[in-house]
């Protein structure tokens, strides 16, 4: 994978929150991401689509250095959050991950109560001074995640006792609780039924007024419904990124067209 390429469409943003500048990711000798340059605008919802193994999740995980946990993984190029390179040795990854939260494919609440799940991050980051503040923060986060009404009477029951959709919203509440600026979502609805999926999608729309949201999804309809821009990855390259409407009605690259029309295996 040494051949050069140019991303089709509109990879830049007038108000970038995150800027990837020629980012490449390697797992040992194998290059998983090749020279990706992309701005993600403040309060933008951007969807990453592409076939399995195209690198969309790998790229997502470079945005909060989740790949640091994999020994053989190395990142080249520059990934900036508000203009600061997050791979700079002075950047503390724990603080970074508080600013750039993440929601995973399978809901993964801690084996704790609903309340403690949400309060956990605030406690370790010292975001609440006393119990009253913590209560308020838990309620606010659960409300933002659209879960408060459903759980307010059983805040001290275990989080894993909730339904899958509720667990995923609990994980979103847990992410919101530490006041992040960016939320990364790695196939957040793939384990959920259509109703729970619709609730998460509705939530993404509401959250986008306060957060920058990056969603990896296998559902092209979901990308079309929730995102402002859609990015198509193929074999580690960012082939095309453009307004979602443009990508789904008149994509600029044949590979994008083949993928979204179901012509690519």
């Amino acid at each position: 994978m040494t051949n050069e390429y140019t991303t089709v469409g509109r990879p830049s943003s007038i108000n970038p929150k995150i800027t990837a500048d020629s980012v490449s990711v390697y797992y040992g000798d194998k290059q998983a991401i090749q020279d990706v340059s992309l701005d993600i605008g403040a309060n933008e919802v951007i969807a990453f689509i592409g076939p399995s193994g195209c690198g969309k999740s790998t790229f997502l995980r470079t945005i909060n250095r989740m790949n640091d946990t994999i020994d053989i993984c190395s990142v080249k190029g520059k990934m900036s959050l508000d203009g600061v390179n997050i791979y700079d040795p002075n950047v503390d990854p724990v603080e970074l991950r508080a600013r750039v939260g993440m929601v995973f494919q399978k809901p993964n609440p801690f084996p704790k109560s609903i309340y403690d799940n949400v309060a956990y991050g605030a406690r370790i980051h010292g975001l609440a001074d006393n119990r009253i503040e913590l209560d308020e923060m838990v309620e606010k986060s659960l409300r933002s995640a659209g879960l408060w009404e459903e759980v307010k009477d059983r805040l001290h029951s275990p989080g894993i006792g909730l339904s899958g959709g509720q667990q995923q919203r609990l994980c979103i509440a847990r992410t919101i609780a530490v006041n992040p600026e960016v939320i990364l979502m790695d196939e957040p609805c793939s384990a959920l039924d259509p109703i729970a999926t619709a609730k998460i999608e509705e939530l993404i729309a509401e959250l986008s007024s306060n957060y920058t949201i990056v969603v990896v999804t296998h559902s092209m309809q979901q990308a079309a419904r929730i995102s402002n821009r859609t990015a198509y990855f193929h074999l580690g390259k960012l082939i095309e990124v453009d307004d979602t409407n443009t990508v789904f009605t008149s994509p600029g690259h044949k590979l994008t067209e083949d993928y979204i029309t179901g012509r690519f295996g």
Partner: protein
């Protein structure tokens, strides 16, 4: 632009079906116009009935094709060129159906004119405009069949000539009516015929705009004048 190559073979077939039905419908509308013009010139009422029978078939194809488009939307949630194909076909069949209605009107007008007795006034103008719109239709369907937006753009330009011929024919018929008020009723029927032909040209322009949308992905409706 291509319809095939989907992982789902049935999706390929679904798209091929709407495309084939549209072309079939276009062929029927074109024969409707040919027969309607013949009915007008010969006063042959059997031909007039044949145009009406064809119109029933055109109407049926419109509903059937549109229904297939709806099913594709529901089942496949098409995107990109597939989506444009479904939307364009759904819009084009509506224009074709209206063209069929105009052809039927011309046939009915032909029978009425024949009943009133032979008179060649305005027939030459009708013939010339009909030839113009028939050429437009053939080109538009060709542009659709070959996914050629340049053909579609050229065809849209042809409509200007049709419009000019229409305006010029109206002027000469007006003069005729002023000179001979007894001819007004008859000339009005010719004018309605010309009007139908001109409308057919407009519908063909709409079809060409959909071909451009289908092939180039740009919406150029109302941008030609």
């Amino acid at each position: 632009m291509k319809l095939d190559g989907h992982i789902s073979q049935r999706f390929n077939q679904d798209l091929e079906d709407i495309r084939t039905q549209l072309l079939e419908m276009g062929g029927l509308v074109s024969s409707q116009i040919t027969q309607a013009m013949e009915a007008l010139e010969t006063g042959d009422s059997a031909l007039g009935e044949s145009v009406e029978a064809l119109d029933k078939e055109v109407n049926r194809l419109e509903v059937e094709t549109d229904d297939l488009c709806t099913k594709i939307l529901v089942k496949r949630q098409p995107a990109a060129s597939d989506l444009r194909m479904v939307l364009a076909v759904s819009r084009i069949v509506r224009d074709l159906e209206r063209m069929g209605d105009e052809a039927t009107k011309i046939a009915q007008m032909g029978i009425r004119l024949a009943e009133e007795g032979a008179s060649p006034i305005g027939y030459a103008e009708c013939r010339s405009i009909a030839a113009g719109v028939q050429a437009m239709i053939a080109n538009a369907l060709d542009g659709f069949a070959r996914y050629d937006s340049n053909v579609a753009r050229d065809t849209i330009e042809m409509d200007q000539k049709v419009d000019e011929d229409y305006a010029s024919a109206l002027r000469s018929l007006m003069t005729y009516m002023m000179e001979d008020p007894r001819s007004i009723k008859r000339v009005m029927n010719i004018m309605w015929t010309l009007r139908s032909l001109e409308r057919i040209g407009d519908h063909t322009t709409n079809i060409c705009e959909q071909v451009i949308y289908l092939v180039d992905g740009v919406d150029e409706r109302h941008s030609f004048s």
